[in-house]
């Protein structure tokens, strides 16, 4: 049995796969001050469902996969460790200067961003290495020890080290690491050349700073998670989802927490792609995951999930550069918890403030007093207050209506129904704009893409989003309410290793190349041998980071290690590079040498057998519910049939208005839309 959990801002999702391939899904509220407790509660639901104790369930499971927003939340809320940065003497302002550049040259309302590590916690280390790797000035160890003493006085909790040219010659960085271990025992540290071996000191420093600052808290979180899961009798593998769409051992994450910044959201496009393909829909897929606090958008372009090496926390050039490869995910602060209010000028606003998991929307009766998007859905009749999460949570509809009346409808001088609809419409518009931004950046026309509506609240307004974008179809997958956890089930084991090298097509050093390939292959094989979760034979693929001489930005070119080391290896690689360069940039330059500046190896091992991914439905269904009176903009209140998702026969065409309910989600189909249930269990809507 395998377990995949994903801790979101509002709910913790759990997907369970039995050994016979049956899939079941659970949702439990996230516990913000103890996220592991939320996971355990979701596991208890799964145990209860099987008539087992938690210990019995855990004893049966062999893999536990976990996605968490713990790292990114800590950065956004400023709750990371007090971290110092050590740099080469003379270069204290690496993080202050950044790499220049600006997004809006005429916007004089935004001050220059502050560095991730403040200047008063940045220390200079007397030493200097040159671009050749030669030592220009020896490391002054006494000075390092002096600095470490002041770090102790400053009560620093983590240390990042970024020395110039350590990627070429890491001797000084390694020695500083040893001195930290000796003089600040127990204080975690990150060496920049280790975490992000790239030219460009700003990027390395930024990666190291972020990584180090996460170590105390992620170390604590992971050991808590491991202890408590093990405490329930689990003896299998504990894996964490990475930003780049794979998973790695929990111990690996404790060593380098930067890998899990986008843990969780990175999985949505994997399951989104699976469902879009199952419906034989377009190659281009927009995957939207609606959480309680954020709306995450990711893409699949021509069957491929775009990966970025320039992930920023916050806005590009204004936030902090992560420097670790990540699935491209755009998050906007919009969700069921987004608060609606009328501003002083009489304008309706929805978000970015969110009621979050606590106190939550008014209708949750947990102390929330400000009306949210979820309250609007309840007021309109979209959500059945007695059947939320299958009836496990009872909602207070009169309280939602009252809050909207007082705080939105009356100030705007309109009916509660119209005010509630306007709240949904404004939230929808924000989501549409966010999708438009990311699809433009990736060159995708939404009109030719399929929209996947993930997250428990997706069904409430995805029909309206799809219509605004001009998408021909919207797919709400069976497991859509736990899209990331489902993706985690489908995801292979992935680990990636990189090495710097310099090989030019002019002087093609086969031996250096062969040695680098061998080094990476050994790392991959070592990883695979340490990861018993891998079932199928691991596959290793290689990518060269290459460019024309004189360029400073490289492109990724896949290569076959046997061919590149063969007799025509240089020519074959070069032809592949020229083609790729022309495809991306419209020109090729046969007159210039091609340089390989790095190679990366990716190990992938399938964990799940390639069988159909279907949600297991219990035999006895309660059948359809009684029709409800529901408000639709332009139609008023209509008597609307309420269908039970699992009871809908596949293939039968339906016409809105309709409400489709399951234990996890409510799908609103307005009078203008058509829908059907597909063979894979998804609801497909043509807006």
């Amino acid at each position: 049995m395998r377990l995949a959990s994903d801790t979101g801002g509002t709910f913790t999702d759990l997907v369970v796969e039995e050994d016979d391939g049956r899939i079941t899904m659970y949702k439990s509220p996230t516990v913000p001050d103890d996220p592991v407790l939320g996971v355990l509660r979701a596991l208890e639901l799964a145990a209860e469902d099987r008539g087992l104790s938690l210990q019995e369930l855990m004893a049966r499971a062999d893999t536990f996969i976990h996605g968490t927003t713990h790292a990114i939340n800590a950065i956004i809320t400023g709750n990371v460790a007090r971290t110092a940065l050590l740099v080469t003497k003379g270069h204290r302002d690496i993080l202050v200067f950044r790499e220049g550049g600006r997004v809006e040259p005429f916007n004089q309302s935004i001050p220059f961003p502050r560095p991730y590590i403040p200047r008063d916690l940045t220390y200079e280390i007397p030493e200097r290495i040159l671009s050749t790797g030669a030592i220009h000035r020896d490391l002054d160890e006494a000075a390092v020890i002096g600095v470490l003493q002041s770090l102790k006085e400053q009560q620093v909790e983590a240390v990042a080290v970024c020395l110039l040219w350590a990627t070429i010659n890491p001797a000084h960085e390694l020695r500083v690491g040893e001195l930290i271990a000796e003089h600040l025992p127990g204080v975690p540290y990150t060496l920049a050349h280790d975490v992000n071996p790239t030219l460009r000191e700003f990027r390395r420093a930024s990666s190291a700073a972020i990584d180090a600052s996460l170590k105390p808290l992620m170390g604590h979180y992971l050991s808590g998670l491991t202890d408590r899961i093990r405490g329930e009798g689990f003896t299998g593998d504990i894996m964490l989802l990475t930003s780049s769409g794979g998973m790695v051992d929990a111990a690996e994450v404790a060593r380098s927490p930067i890998k899990v910044i986008n843990s969780g959201p990175s999985m949505a496009p994997i399951s989104g792609h699976y469902y879009a393909r199952a419906e034989a829909q377009a190659d281009d897929v927009i995957v939207a995951d609606t959480g309680g606090t954020t709306y995450d958008i990711s893409l699949v372009r021509k069957g491929v999930v775009p990966i970025t090496r320039e992930l920023w926390i916050g806005r590009p050039l204004l936030g902090h550069l992560v420097g670790y490869p990540s699935v491209e995910v755009k998050s906007v602060g919009a969700g069921g918890g987004s608060i609606a209010h009328v501003d002083q000028g009489g304008l309706l606003r929805v978000g970015p403030q969110s009621a979050g998991a606590k106190p939550g929307p008014v209708c949750y009766r947990q102390g929330g007093t400000k009306p949210t998007v979820t309250d609007a859905s309840v007021a309109l009749g979209h959500i059945d207050p007695d059947f939320f999460l299958g009836g496990r949570i009872k909602l207070d509809r009169p309280a939602a209506i009252e809050a909207i009346r007082k705080q939105v409808a009356e100030p705007l001088g309109m009916s509660v129904d119209e005010a509630s609809w306007q709240i949904i419409a404004l939230a929808t518009e924000g989501m549409v704009q966010a999708i438009a931004d990311i699809t433009v950046a990736q060159g995708i026309d939404p009109a030719n893409a399929v929209l996947i509506g993930g997250g428990g609240a997706a069904g409430l307004n995805s029909t309206f989003i799809a219509r605004r974008l001009g998408c021909k179809s919207l797919v709400i997958p069976e497991t859509g309410a736990a899209l990331s956890a489902a993706g985690a089930m489908m995801s292979p084991l992935i680990s990636e290793y990189a090495t710097s090298i310099f090989v030019s097509s002019d002087r093609f050093d086969r031996e250096a190349l062969a040695a680098a390939i061998e080094r990476l292959r050994a790392k991959c094989e070592d990883f695979a041998s340490r990861s018993p979760a891998a079932s199928g034979a691991p596959r290793i693929s290689f990518v060269a980071e290459a460019r024309y001489e004189g360029q400073v930005w490289d492109i990724d070119v896949k290569f076959d290690p046997q061919k590149i080391l063969g007799p025509d290896g240089s020519e074959i690689f070069r032809a592949g590079f020229d083609d790729m360069h022309e495809q991306i940039f419209a020109v090729r330059d046969p007159g210039s040498a091609v340089e390989i500046i790095g190679i990366r190896a990716t190990l992938r091992a399938d964990i799940r057998r390639d069988v159909e991914f279907r949600l297991h439905s219990p035999g006895a269904l309660s059948g359809d519910h009684r029709p409800r009176e529901i408000y639709f903009h332009g139609y008023g209140r209509l008597q609307t049939p309420v269908l039970r998702l699992e009871a809908i026969a596949p293939g039968r065409p339906g016409q809105g208005p309709a409400i489709i309910e399951s234990a996890f989600t409510t799908i609103v189909v307005d009078p203008d839309a058509r829908f059907h249930r597909s063979g894979t269990g998804s609801i497909v809507i043509h807006p």
């Binding site: 003379g90 302002d93 220049g100 005429f106 220059f112 110039l164 433009v440 492109i555």
Partner: protein
């Protein structure tokens, strides 16, 4: 054929798609360029111009490159080449025909529909590492005239026909431009960018229909004009004046050049006029402004002082009138006067004079003065790399700041100058050391050089660097030493520029503001850039912000007390009572 009007959503989506094309062009130039000025500093711009030669979209471009100029250049292309065909491409860098300065070699490609009709012009402008000047610099402040400057000039000269190079032109460039292999790589990068723009725009036109795209352009211009109208209506009515002074440079009058800008706002009509005609005649110097730079610099000063959400295109420009005089240093320079450094020095003074004038409208308007360029830390380095034996020439971007405070925010520090708007990238130490034989000893922001104010200007930067092996030549022209960036409305000045040479024996000697310096192994140049001016009285600044600046070492405790009136206790916390007293004294 007529098409129906687009609704607001359709307009927004098409605008996103058109801007997306421009961004894709820019990405191509950045990723494939060979010289540092392109692939690190991003000193290039891409835009789309309508068939009747109006600027439609210029996402994320350098302001001084594009607001005015591409329109004039597209007009000269159409005038000199009346029969435009698909597959054509034209070189253009003549400052007498709309280009900013000779170093900004541009490529224009007409977008021709299936019926052979010229629909749009795709435009990319890329600052060259070298353009064949008589000295290895692309900003030749000392040029007496175009002959002395020596740049190769292309007034809309055809460089491709049927998508193939006209090899004669390429050979001419390879003979006259330093490090021709690097130049050829940059040429390919620029051609790649315009061809990608052409391909994408052809696809868009065919998908939605060319008439609909024209309809979009017309409506987008109207929308932008309306936004501009509303923004100007926020200004008080009246006439204001601003002055900004360039330091004495070779070829300029001994007292330097004071640029005067008269600004006349007519909010009831939604119009604004900038008059630059009062300024001195063209000088035997490389600092004269091309028409494109004069017009653009004036517009930058205006836009810096308006709601930034106004789209910058021909629609908004309908509401700005710029009055220029022929044979004027800040007007329309005529052949053979040189405009070698037109995008920076006097342009900076024009943009600054306009935004300083706007500040005269009252608190809440205009901006402080942005600092000046070009310190040696952003100079042009050249020579033969002793490590490889290869020749090199490149503008480096090791450090700059210069950002000025606005009425609502502290400065964006890495501004470079008014015309750049902070769009340029910084090379970083490692990239500069690997591509040129340099050793960067230190690079930092300098304490107590910020323009003090309610909102602060950027502090100066200081870089100490020299050859790591062999020798290098470094050319620069650094304004802002005699005239450091001014504060406004009670704000203080930012730090001034300066430069020194440190000999092998450690002795430090001053260097002139304009020079071409040979550095030998063991010698270092010390380059200090200007900061930027502050806005509003420093005693109005949030005391907690001053305490933070002290803690991080940007402001000394003494300056906090004397200039800002903020007294800190032993722990660096604000002493509220002492601060109140001190500030009351300062106001008295």
């Amino acid at each position: 054929m007529t098409t129906t009007a687009l609704n607001g959503a359709e307009l927004a989506i098409l605008n996103n798609r058109v801007e997306g094309i421009v961004r894709k062009m820019a990405n191509t130039l950045l990723r494939t360029g060979r010289s540092g000025v392109l692939n690190r500093a991003k000193d290039f711009s891409c835009c789309i111009i309508t068939a009747d030669c109006h600027l439609l979209a210029a996402a994320e471009s350098l302001p001084i490159h594009v607001l005015s100029g591409p329109d004039i250049m597209a007009r000269t292309m159409a005038e000199f080449h009346p029969n435009l065909r698909r597959g054509d491409a034209f070189f253009h860098n003549s400052p007498y025909h709309g280009c900013s300065h000779a170093a900004d070699l541009s490529i224009l490609v007409p977008v021709i529909d299936a019926d052979g009709r010229h629909r749009f012009t795709i435009f990319a402008k890329a600052h060259q590492a070298d353009i064949g000047n008589s000295e290895p610099t692309t900003y030749m402040a000392t040029a007496r005239d175009i002959y002395n400057e020596g740049a190769l000039l292309f007034p809309a000269v055809q460089v491709q026909r049927d998508y193939r190079d006209i090899a004669d032109i390429i050979r001419m460039c390879e003979l006259r431009i330093r490090v021709p292999e690097q130049w050829r790589g940059d040429y390919l990068a620029t051609i790649g960018a315009v061809r990608i723009g052409e391909r994408e725009l052809l696809a868009l036109g065919e998908e939605i229909g060319w008439d609909r795209l024209d309809q979009f352009a017309a409506q987008w211009f109207d929308y932008s004009e309306n936004m501009m109208d509303a923004a100007i209506r926020e200004l008080p009515a009246g006439r204001v004046m601003g002055r900004s002074t360039h330091d004495p440079f070779p070829g300029l009058p001994p007292e330097g050049v004071t640029v005067t800008a008269h600004v006349h706002a007519r909010p009831d009509e939604g119009r604004i006029t900038v008059d630059l005609s009062e300024n001195i005649d063209c000088q035997p110097s490389g600092l004269n402004l091309s028409e494109a730079c004069s017009r653009t610099a004036a517009m930058i000063g205006v836009f810096n002082s308006l709601d930034h959400r106004v789209p910058k295109n021909a629609g908004a420009f309908r509401r700005i009138e710029v009055i220029l005089r022929r044979n004027c240093i800040a007007g329309i320079t005529e052949h053979p006067y040189s405009c070698s450094a037109a995008t920076t020095n006097i342009s900076d003074r024009v943009g600054n004079a306009v935004q300083l004038a706007m500040a005269e409208f009252g608190d809440g308007f205009g901006m402080a003065e942005v600092g000046a360029v070009i310190a040696p830390s952003a100079g042009v380095v050249s020579g033969v790399d002793a490590r490889s034996g290869n020749a090199f020439v490149n503008q480096i971007f090791l450090a700059f700041s210069a950002g000025a405070a606005s009425p609502i925010s502290d400065a964006w520090w890495t501004m470079i100058d008014v015309g750049n708007g902070g769009m340029c990238g910084l090379d970083g130490v490692e990239l500069d050391e690997i591509y040129q034989p340099l050793l960067v000893e230190s690079r930092r922001f300098v304490t107590d050089t910020e323009g003090a104010g309610r909102f602060t200007g950027a502090p100066s930067t200081e870089v100490v660097f020299g050859p790591v092996q062999g020798g290098i030549t470094i050319a620069y022209g650094s304004d802002g030493q005699v005239n450091p960036p001014q504060g406004v409305r009670g704000g203080g000045p930012g730090g001034g520029s300066d430069q020194f040479i440190r000999r092998k024996d450690g002795t430090v000697e001053p260097l002139p503001p304009v020079a071409q310096v040979e550095l030998r192994e063991g010698e270092m140049i010390i380059a200090i850039s200007t900061g930027g001016g502050g806005y509003g009285p420093p005693a109005d600044r949030d005391a907690a912000a001053v305490a933070r600046d002290v803690r991080e070492g940007y402001v000394s405790t003494d300056r906090a007390r004397t200039v800002y009136g903020v007294v800190l206790d032993g722990q660096g916390q604000v002493d509220l009572a002492a601060t109140e007293t001190r500030r009351a004294e300062m106001m008295a």
